[in-house]
């Protein structure tokens, strides 16, 4: 299913706060998430035990889903974080953090921890 992604700053899911006082678990719990309209959750056949895989030309990420009826259908929000930046990118030397097309599907894949993510790129 195609969605439009926006990365946003949220008080409850704040990267700066998690890095200051959180740990590996709280980082994953509070930042590796996305927020969808309940209708979209239904269309994707998402259950509480399933995660959501978001993918586009920049990459892919697996995150936990939270629902909020105030999010318009067809839109997915993610807090600004290293997980969200797996699917943000560059277009004509401009960094793109908003209105990014992604394809979404339910998945049983696990959510990567920050250590697992960084181990992929640390030389």
């Amino acid at each position: 299913m195609d969605l439009v992604l926006n990365t946003v700053r949220m008080v409850d899911y704040d990267q700066v706060k998690e890095y200051s006082c959180g740990d590996e678990n709280s980082l994953k719990e509070n930042l590796a998430i996305c927020i969808l309209n309940p209708e979209d959750i239904k269309k994707l056949n998402l259950t509480p035990s399933l995660n959501l895989k978001l993918a586009n030309q920049y990459g892919e990420v697996v995150v936990k889903v939270k629902e909020n009826k105030d999010i318009p259908s067809g839109t997915v929000l993610m807090p600004v974080s290293i997980w969200a930046n797996l699917i943000t990118g560059i277009d004509d030397e401009q960094l793109i953090f908003k209105n990014i097309k992604v394809s979404a599907e339910a998945t049983r894949d696990a959510i990567l921890t920050i250590k697992e993510l960084l181990n992929k790129i640390i030389p």
Partner: protein, 432 residues
Amino acid sequence: MVSKRVTCTGCSLLCDDIIIRTDGLYIDEVIGACLKGKEKFDCTTGQNRILSPMIRKNSELEKTSLENAIKKAIEIIANSSKPILYGFSTVNCQAQLMGIELAKCVNGFIDSNSIICHGKVMNAAKQTGMTLSTISEVINKTDLLIFWGANVAESIPRLLNKALFSRGKFRMTGREIKTIVIIDPAKTASFNVMGVRDIALQVEPGKDIELIRALKEECCSPNSIPSNGVAGADKEDLKRLLIQLTNVENGVIFIGQGIVGSSRSSEVIKELLELIQMINAQQQKGRMSLMMLGGHYNMVGFDHVALSTYGKNHSLQFSDNELVETSDTIVSKINNGDFDCSIIVGSDPVSHLPWTLSKKLVSKPLILIDNKKSATFNCAHVVIPSTITGIESGGLGYRLDHVPVELYKIVNPPEHIISDEEILLKLINGLK
């Protein structure tokens, strides 16, 4: 225990009315600061504070002395021919100046976070001009506040308090006389402060430029708006917005990442600045201005320091101790791999840049000067801990409305930890 009024460096609003209770060693209570500000004050004793310099040995970061860390950093920089410096949005102006001098000393390239944020507005303003406002003006005179692409209630919590709910000198009835307009695709927490005469525009994602163009066209005649609205915004709401824009006495448009972080952002910003100029040209007595919402407390500062020293607000490339022309930005430098080491100051680019850039950034030696552990910390080759400006050291900062604010030391930093400008000066002296 003493009480003092201090300035908070939690975000770019730089609230100078915060009261802290301290015994001189630790900050016990923080009164008046929002959650973001409190978290900044908590950083002094946070569990993820960097308390020791570190060097990477055998793929692991190991503690070392400050001298060794500085020595290793100097070695890496001296062996590189194309160093890049990045960050500088959470350090004081003195450190920003030192950063620029370091870049000059090593024929490097320096850029700050503002290039991917409000710096785009400054760039567009060179062509179109820009009308600015201060927070005091907003409190005392503004009667229309437009939040465009910004969830201000969650990104800068106290701004709504000061801008919308205050009872200013010429706006004594406060909230009753002020109108707020929120333009955002999603219904965020900011929408909860709206009243009956306020305007909420939930535009379709990516259609802000259509809305701005429609407002520019209809500036003279609100009666020719298409009946099905524009960009997902209702016709009646657009009419009300136009009437507000053209009749307001003092209005401010606050723009956030929704405008700056989208594709075609340069176009959108240019058109928005032209809209503001157009409204001001037509107004008999009113005035519209612009304010950029930034998260980091001294993002604006780098632009001022760079402009006043070298006449350019971003992307400074040095060669033979001179500033040279370049069309590169930090994005193109990293994307093209046009660097051989990086010095990151007060920032966490591995977390906030797209993954493709982060991968390229950490593939080369990385020196980090910061006070808390982050994703970039985990990828660095050398880590040098610094003080937290505004709490453990002083300096100058620029608020989001371009007003300079002096920051003061409140408590002592942990042992052997020095300020960003002192660290950068040690690097400069070691490289000369």
